[in-house]
């Protein structure tokens, strides 16, 4: 059973928005993941997500060009838990202001990575959350273009129905 902790801040949304507007990027809380579904906003604690991470495997990480021990969550399960079902598409915002909208998430192969080689990942190593494919088949890991749909430094995820 998931032990994830999340807090709904609907009542304090206005206050939070105002605080974010005046805060510098570094002051933003990198220990949280924001889930957006229309007007509904859910803020998940990264610490809770790290504790919830129950999938562990070792694979060749193309961007590291070496084997790495990965720990994380099945992304599809997280989506179902918080959105009720897997949205058709998701709009991601990353800490480096990278934005992308992608579909095809109803697939247990996608892992939301929280740890790498036993350590929680941070902004400094493309964290604090990263989406990777556990099994990338026979795609050539030497060609990074094959992994363009991996998402790093995830700050918020918005459901696009």
């Amino acid at each position: 059973m998931s032990r994830m902790v999340f807090s709904c801040r609907l009542s304090a949304l206005g206050l939070l928005s105002a605080a974010l507007l005046v805060a510098s990027p570094v002051a933003a809380d990198t220990d949280e993941l924001i889930l957006l579904d229309g007007d509904r906003e859910v803020v998940l604690s990264l610490e809770a997500l790290r504790e919830q991470a129950d999938v562990e495997f070792r694979f060749y990480e193309p961007y590291l060009t070496e084997e790495a021990d990965i720990r994380g969550l099945v992304f599809r399960d997280l989506l179902q838990e918080h959105f009720g079902e897997v949205p058709e598409q998701l709009h991601f915002e990353a800490w480096d202001d990278y934005e992308v909208t992608l579909g095809g998430w109803d697939d247990p192969n996608w892992i939301l990575v929280t740890h790498q080689n036993g350590e929680p990942i941070s902004l400094r190593n493309r964290g604090p959350l990263r989406l990777v494919e556990r099994d990338y088949g026979n795609r050539d890991p030497a060609n990074l273009r094959n992994f363009n749909d991996w998402v790093w430094m995830i700050r918020s995820i918005e459901a696009v129905w």
């Binding site: 510098s24 590291l64 060009t65 480096d96 992308v100 992994f147 363009n148 790093w152 430094m153």
Partner: protein, 340 residues
């Protein structure tokens, strides 16, 4: 056991090969359109995704932004925090296995950036030489990576274009070969078809010739038998005409004149009986005419009409023992309700 001759099988064979060639050509074109072009598009269209812009370029941008902030207010805490954040982003995009492995400057640059980030984090003073070593050197390294990666991308693109050009050349050549083969097979089919048609036409001509009397151009005995056999029933009138003393005619005037007399007789009979009747040479100087006949009276009328026409012609016969002109023996009969 002799297998039945089936010429159509040979035609179908060429036709099938031809159709198969054109189908193969269509499949090749479909393959090019459906799979190859999207692959090329996917290869070159990289904007807006994770590696659409070089990671090194993005990292350098964050470093420049951090440097700008530190140069503007090096002692301001908030500015230092923002610079730290920019450097963290730069570090994460710089710390790529490919860069570490292929560019020697990557490791030292990341170490230098790490030191500066530690200084910013623990509140230590940041001097100009710190910035030079921890930001300018990594920027140079990133620029070097960018340039090299751009060169490599150009090489890969050129190679890809060359491969694509070669591939398209092969496809074009293959398409032409298949097209020419298809045309060749079609030509073979067409030749076979024309040959078969010519053969059928010739057979028909030979069959027609076999039923014709070459001297007079009318049907022969076989033709008459066929016509009687294939008639749809009803009453047929039959007239038989024989030239009297024809041997004497030939003996006195010669066979060429005898032949001319036969042809003249045919003309006379045809003129007398009209287009309704079919005329046949039964052999020698014997002729027969077949026509639709509804009654005995009609048969008698036609018979009399023919006799009169022949008499009126008064063809000279110098060797006739009883007359100065050619005489004929004419007989008629009716074939009632003839059914095959």
């Amino acid at each position: 056991m002799v297998k039945p001759h089936r010429p159509w099988r040979r035609h179908v064979h060429w036709l099938s090969l031809s159709l198969m060639s054109f189908v193969a050509l269509m499949l090749l074109i479909a393959y090019q359109t459906r799979w190859v072009y999207p692959e090329i598009h996917a290869y070159f269209s990289q904007s807006g995704n994770l590696t659409g812009q070089q990671l090194a370029t993005r990292a350098r941008g964050y470093l420049q932004e951090g440097l700008d902030q530190l140069l503007s207010s090096p002692d301001d805490q908030e500015t230092r925090q923002r610079a730290y954040f920019q450097m963290t982003l730069a570090y994460s995009l710089f710390d790529i296995g490919l860069y570490r492995r292929e560019y020697d400057c990557t490791g030292p640059s990341l170490a230098a950036m790490g030191e500066l980030m530690d200084r910013l984090d623990n509140g230590s003073t940041v001097e100009a030489y710190h910035l030079r070593e921890s930001l300018l050197e990594p920027m140079r390294c990133l620029t070097q990576i960018e340039m090299h990666q751009l060169d490599r991308r150009s090489e890969v693109t050129a190679e890809f274009v060359e491969q694509t050009r070669r591939h398209q050349g092969q496809v074009l050549a293959g398409s032409l070969v298949i097209f020419v083969l298809g045309l060749g097979f079609w030509s073979m089919h067409e030749m076979q078809r024309r040959r078969a048609a010519r053969s059928a036409r010739e057979s028909l001509e030979w069959m027609t010739r076999a039923l014709r009397d070459p001297l007079t151009g009318v049907g022969n005995r076989s033709a008459m038998q066929d016509d009687v056999r294939t008639s749809r029933g009803g009453s047929l009138g039959l007239l038989l005409v024989d030239i009297d003393y024809f041997k004497q005619y030939n003996d006195s005037l010669g066979h060429p004149d005898g032949d001319r007399l036969l042809r003249r007789l045919v003309q006379l009979i045809e003129r007398a009986l009209g287009n309704e009747a079919s005329l046949y040479r039964m052999g020698g100087d014997e002729f027969a005419a077949l026509f639709e006949c509804r009654s005995d009276k009609a048969l008698g009328d036609i018979c009399r009409h023919l006799v009169e026409a022949l008499r009126d012609a008064a063809l000279p016969h110098p060797a006739h023992p009883h007359s100065d002109s050619v005489t004929f023996s004419v007989g008629g009969g009716e074939i009632q309700g003839w059914v095959r």
